[in-house]
């Protein structure tokens, strides 16, 4: 028994080491940096400033604004992704011809690198040549000649639309996995008891895929809270679409060698981390997920 435990320890070691290097070290370093004031310029002197960076964050209107945008983006896009993803999963869970092909094709939006698909969508939202602009005009959503990506309000919805297009398939695949492990006998029993399709969905399917949806929700929320590429490519944070990660790019990149902003940028990163933790905690509590 003792020997077995030792073997297990040895086998865990590579994984633990890898996680430490790629996850714990950068995380720790970011926390550490957030208590200092310095830049990446050669010869810059590190100065310990305690919680000053955090105190400044709480008074930074641009940070507060980006925080609101990020939460709005996350809540709306993850909501639509979950609902549409569940529907999509239910559809491809049914047996029909070419099901394998449909399941594979469905993943295409998710497989295209975001930077590329966002550029593609930027062109489709172009005010003169863009097909999305045309479609929105025909549907009466916008006046002819409205630049969707140049209008406060509209631009954020366009970005949410692109994110939903891109990540709904990912949600669907995760939820599909959850659907597949539900034993068929449960449905048979429900039928015998006279449950209709709605009852079967709300009383059997939904409770049994809740843990899966919970995990999928956490994945998506974490991603959405640090959204960068789709926003940066489509609007560069203009017209009220700046998110925390886009603001952080500005602090870390544009101010990397000037001023002493790197600690401040690290504090923004930590703030994103805390925000993610809050969301994860809420999900785990409200959905009563168990991770053991």
């Amino acid at each position: 028994m003792k020997k077995q435990g030792l073997t297990a320890l040895w086998m865990l070691l590579p994984a633990v080491l890898t996680i430490s290097i790629v996850a714990f070290f950068p995380l720790f370093k970011t926390f550490y940096d957030s208590f200092y004031s310095f830049s990446l310029r050669p010869g810059s002197i590190r100065q310990f400033v305690g919680f000053t960076n955090y105190e400044r964050l709480s008074r930074d209107p641009r940070f507060i604004y980006a925080l609101k945008n990020t939460v709005f983006f996350t809540v709306v896009s993850v909501f639509f992704e979950t609902v549409l993803g569940t529907l999509m999963a239910l559809v491809v869970h049914q047996k029909f011809a070419l099901r394998g092909l449909v399941r594979a094709a469905m993943l295409i939006p998710w497989a295209i690198p975001t930077a590329i698909s966002s550029q593609m969508w930027r062109w489709m939202f172009h005010d003169q040549f863009g097909i999305m602009t045309k479609i929105c005009e025909v549907l009466g959503i916008i006046q002819p000649g409205t630049p969707i990506l140049g209008r406060p309000g509209l631009a954020m919805w366009a970005i949410i639309f692109v994110d939903v297009w891109k990540t709904t398939p990912f949600m669907a695949i995760l939820i599909l996995a959850g659907l597949q492990i539900i034993p068929k006998e449960l449905y048979e029993a429900a039928r015998i008891d006279g449950a209709n399709a709605f009852q079967r969905f709300f009383r059997v399917t939904l409770p049994l895929i809740t843990p899966t949806i919970g995990v999928a929700l956490i994945f998506r929320t974490l991603d959405a809270l640090r959204v960068f590429d789709v926003v940066y490519v489509m609007t560069r944070g203009a017209v009220g679409t700046e998110t925390l990660a886009v603001y952080n790019r500005h602090v870390l990149m544009d101010r990397a060698f000037t001023g002493n902003w790197f600690g401040y940028g690290s504090a923004i990163s930590v703030a994103i981390f805390i925000l993610i933790s809050i969301f994860a905690f809420m999900y785990i509590k409200s959905l009563k997920l168990k991770f053991d």
């Binding site: 990446l40 630049p147 990506l149 140049g150 560069r236 544009d254 060698f257 001023g259």
Partner: protein, 411 residues
């Protein structure tokens, strides 16, 4: 046979030992990359022992900036040769090889004074000017003639009048420019600002943008072109250089503000407006002054490269900035930085406007020369764009812009 192999191996080893491989970054706008590759072929004929690998970069200057920050902060030894925007000299100077003692090796005396100034940081030369840029006005010769205008606009008011008349009658846009929130917006904005008699910083580096009302008027004029005169589509607030060029090239605009690179593309074989385009200096503002923003790119050497790579890099830069190569580079619409090239008759054949607009290029004005330019630019971009998208009025935008500039520059 075995002997032959051995000799071959030995020769290869010797060649490998003496040859050096360097990397350089390059943009790929228009014909830029194609021309550079041809130039490298010529370079290999003179220096067969140097191999150059090109790292193509994104079109947008901001993304190139971020790429460099990541490389430089990590003290990477690659790329060896950096293609640097004129606005970055001060910011990246600590990471660039000091070329002050090579002033004569690169014949910097023969270069346009403005371009040499753009690579000088605290008295040191940190890069060599490769090509220069200045904002220009492109216009449709055929349309102006059709509506009875025998000369391109001399003032902004004249441009508005012509654009309103022609765009209404033709059912197309009047004037396209760069209004998206990015570096290009700063270039466009400063041109209006200067031609309306304002400036961002004075010679001592004090913020003077809110002194007098030139800035408010200039910004209001930009807003009015979109919403009042309606000569620019609202979508101009999402346009970068290539968006504007595509709109103009497809024949849906009368005027366009853009850089010299657009010329060769507008006159390409597949261009619908080929031969119908004229190019002139940007119109004058109420102050009677015309102004063009100085753009352009310089070549600098990575401080962390090995001495051998630095030597090869110097040879490459000297070659690319030589008289003949600058003349050749005109083919991709990139303006020489050597004064004498403008007087060469071969330049006039390829790009006649470069010779006639020589004054524009030597008088182009630089954006603020400060080490934290990226921050300054971000502030200008945010407030100018907010005014263009009607999130605040021009007066408030300039006030807030000035306050933030003061805050960041006094930090």
């Amino acid at each position: 046979m075995r002997k032959f192999h051995m000799i071959l191996a030995m020769v290869l080893t010797v060649v490998m030992a003496f040859s050096v491989k360097i990397t350089m970054t390059s943009g790929g706008v228009g014909k830029e990359l194609e021309i550079l590759k041809k130039q490298l072929e010529m370079f290999y004929q003179i220096y067969p022992d140097i191999e150059v690998e090109i790292i193509p970069m994104p079109d947008s200057s901001t993304e190139r900036h971020d790429l460099y920050v990541a490389c430089l902060a990590a003290h990477q030894t690659d790329p060896d040769v950096f293609m640097l925007d004129v606005i970055w000299s001060a910011e990246f100077a600590p990471f660039l090889e000091d070329l002050t003692k090579d002033y004569d090796y690169f014949d910097l005396d023969e270069f346009l004074a403005g371009t040499v100034k753009s690579v000088t940081v605290e008295g040191k030369i940190v890069a060599i000017p490769w090509f220069t840029d200045a904002g220009l006005l492109y216009y449709r010769k055929d349309l102006l003639k059709k509506y009875g205008y025998n000369h391109p606009p001399e003032t902004w008011d004249e441009l508005v009048e012509m654009a309103m008349k022609i765009s209404k009658a033709e059912g197309i846009n009047g004037f396209v420019w760069q209004g998206a929130k990015y570096e290009g917006l700063v270039c466009d904005f400063t041109e209006y600002l200067w031609s309306f008699g304002g400036d961002i910083l004075d010679d001592e580096g004090n913020v003077v943008i809110d002194r007098g009302n030139a800035a408010v008027k200039a910004l209001q004029f930009m807003v009015d072109m979109i919403y009042k005169y309606r000569i620019s589509p609202e979508g101009v607030t999402t346009y970068m250089e290539e968006d504007a060029r595509r709109a103009f090239q497809s024949g849906t605009a009368v005027f366009m503000r853009n850089w010299p690179y657009a010329w060769s593309l507008l006159n390409g074989a597949d261009s619908p407006v080929k031969g119908k385009v004229g190019v002139v200096p940007l119109p004058a503002g109420p102050s009677g002054k015309r102004a063009a923003t100085l753009g352009g790119w310089n070549l600098g050497i990575n401080k962390y490269s090995s001495p051998k790579e630095k030597e090869a890099a110097k040879k490459l830069i000297k070659f690319l900035t030589s008289y003949h190569q600058q003349l050749y580079k005109v083919n991709s619409g990139q303006n020489p930085t050597r004064e004498l090239v403008y007087k060469d008759s071969r330049l006039k054949e390829v790009a006649p406007f470069m010779a006639t607009l020589f004054d524009v290029f030597i008088n182009a004005l630089p954006r603020p020369r400060v080490a934290n330019y990226s921050e300054v630019s971000d502030i200008i971009q945010r407030y100018v764009h907010a005014a263009l998208t009607k999130q605040m009025d021009a007066k408030t935008a300039i006030e807030k812009l000035a306050n933030e500039l003061r805050w960041i520059l006094e930090e």
